[in-house]
């Protein structure tokens, strides 16, 4: 479903601020794969997501999604294939537009937008049905501006919008990191539900090791622009967070993962 070959990305090449963000990344995801991604701050996780979504064009290498070579596609062209949820709950929705208008935008992903009405009564019924799944009572607030919702509600809506049209690839970039534990747990549950129901091929960055081990069928660890660990389901299901830390040390030849923000428990 997703094939990344020999992707490199360097920021500010040739200046004192030069930063190699991705080093020769090779990655293949089969349809329905749910891959969790961990790695310290600055490891290149977000850059990898942006390379896939078209936010950054890689310096070298190719990206293939659903048998289409998309390396040279713009971000908005790739959007027909990719659903995305960002870390910032404010990033995935338009605050001054209503819930139903936001959903109408999600609904028209991959379609030509012309002069048909964005929200029709037929679409409205569909929106209500899908909103009910979030269990937030949003199905009765279609005409509320999204800016009035809480961070958790906005992130739930972002997730619904990102997956509304079953994209070929779902990219989640620390999408629970900005939420309090209770709301984060709710979004995790929703994520599992949506991904499993629709068998979405998913790449999920998280800073929560337990999440990384418990969710999905494969785990990647990024460090300094490289994939240093690629753990398959059989191994992953046996591992504890301590095993994961040890695996990191081994892969790094003794270097310890010193990162306060990692949630181990």
């Amino acid at each position: 479903m997703l094939t990344i070959s020999n992707v490199n990305k360097t920021f500010n090449e040739g200046t004192v601020n030069e930063k190699i963000a991705l080093r020769n990344i090779n990655l293949h995801l089969a349809p329905g794969d749910f891959v969790t991604v961990i790695g310290s701050n600055g490891a290149g996780k977000s850059t990898l997501m942006n390379a896939i979504s078209g936010g950054y064009i890689p310096d070298t290498g190719t990206i293939k999604i659903a048998e289409q070579m998309v390396t040279k596609w713009n971000e908005h062209n790739r959007a027909s294939l990719i659903g995305r949820v960002f870390q910032d709950p404010m990033a995935g929705t338009a605050p001054n537009m209503t819930i139903e208008e936001n959903l109408a935008i999600a609904y028209s992903r991959g379609k030509k937008r012309r002069l048909g009405l964005g929200v029709t009564s037929k679409k409205r019924a569909l929106f209500q049905e899908r909103l009910r799944m979030l269990d937030q009572g949003l199905e009765n607030r279609l005409k509320t501006k999204v800016g009035f919702l809480s961070g958790g509600q906005r992130q739930a809506l972002s997730l619904l919008m990102a997956t509304f049209t079953n994209p070929k690839i779902l990219l989640l970039d620390e999408h629970t990191a900005a939420l309090d534990p209770k709301r984060a747990a709710l979004i995790v549950d929703l994520t599992l539900k949506v991904v499993n129901e629709n068998k979405l091929t998913t790449l999920m960055v998280t800073h929560n090791m337990e999440q990384a081990l418990n969710m999905g069928n494969r785990l990647l660890m990024l460090h300094d622009g490289s994939i240093i660990l690629d753990i398959p389901q059989e191994k992953k299901s046996q591992m504890t967070t301590n095993d994961l830390l040890r695996a990191f040390e081994e892969a790094r030849g003794g270097e310890k993962l010193t990162e306060d923000r990692y949630i181990l428990a």
Binding site: S53, N74, E75, H76, N77, A79, S80, I82, R84, F86, M90, A91, G92, T93, A94, P95, N96, M97, E101, A104, I105, A106, S108, R109, G110, K111, R113, R114, L115, G116, L117, G118, V119, M161, A162
Partner: protein, 305 residues
Amino acid sequence: MNFAIVSAIEQGLLFAIMVLGVYLTFRILDFPDLTVDGSFALGGAIAATLIIDGMNPFLATLIAMAGGAIAGTFTGLLTTKGKINGLLAGILVMISLYSINLRIMGKKSNLPLLREETLYSKTQALSIPDITFGGITWLTGEAIIFLVMVLLIKFLIDWFLHTDLGLDIRATGDNSRMIRSFGANTDTTTIIGLALSNALVAVSGAFIAQYQGFADVGMGIGMIVVGLASVIIGEVLFGAKSIMRVTLAVVLGSVVYRLVIAFALQAGLEATDMKLITAFLVILALVLPNIMKRALKMGKTVKGG
């Protein structure tokens, strides 16, 4: 006095089309577009020149509208494809238009339309009765036609902003990263928004030229500030809850603005002071909410502490 009010209402309605255009860029696209000063005069210049050449005034006004759309497209291209800062892109097109408008007007800075058949003279020829009440004329027959036309444009904009394309344009101003992740080309939506806005501005300029009986190369100077003042006055007085509400509010804001100016003139201020007063109104409207917020906060900390 009554005459001043009546003509303020007429003017307010014609300028309201320009204000709707400014609303589209300033509020919907979140793009302060200075092209407006140039495209307003462009509309007047094109319409006046073509009418003097003997063209049907309706057609001349339509061509003026197309001219405005092209001007807006240029600003859009400069800022999206050329990556020029939005304010600067607008200024560059505005300044270019000053030369272009003079060329269109055959190097004359003023084109009188005195004996020409214009949309205004056609409107007058309809002789629609004035609305008088209590011995005072409130709306002239012409103003009724203007009102119907402006409301028609308002409803068209309302409709457009609720289509799929309209939602994309609104989201471009609201959260451009989000709308790109759903497949909209924000360069295209920005250009469409700017083209539409300046088309409206040019139509307004064409109407004003026909209404006042001349086009002048300087007729657009300060127009963006008038537009902003009207948008802000409208929103403050009449609310901005929904698109339909706010488009009506800015139309009314345009009329209120003209009434304020009429009263200021009545009170003895010079016509040449009006730009200063307008700028002052905008500054006040932009600064007051911040001051009020700070005052509220201070009040709270004083009580709390």
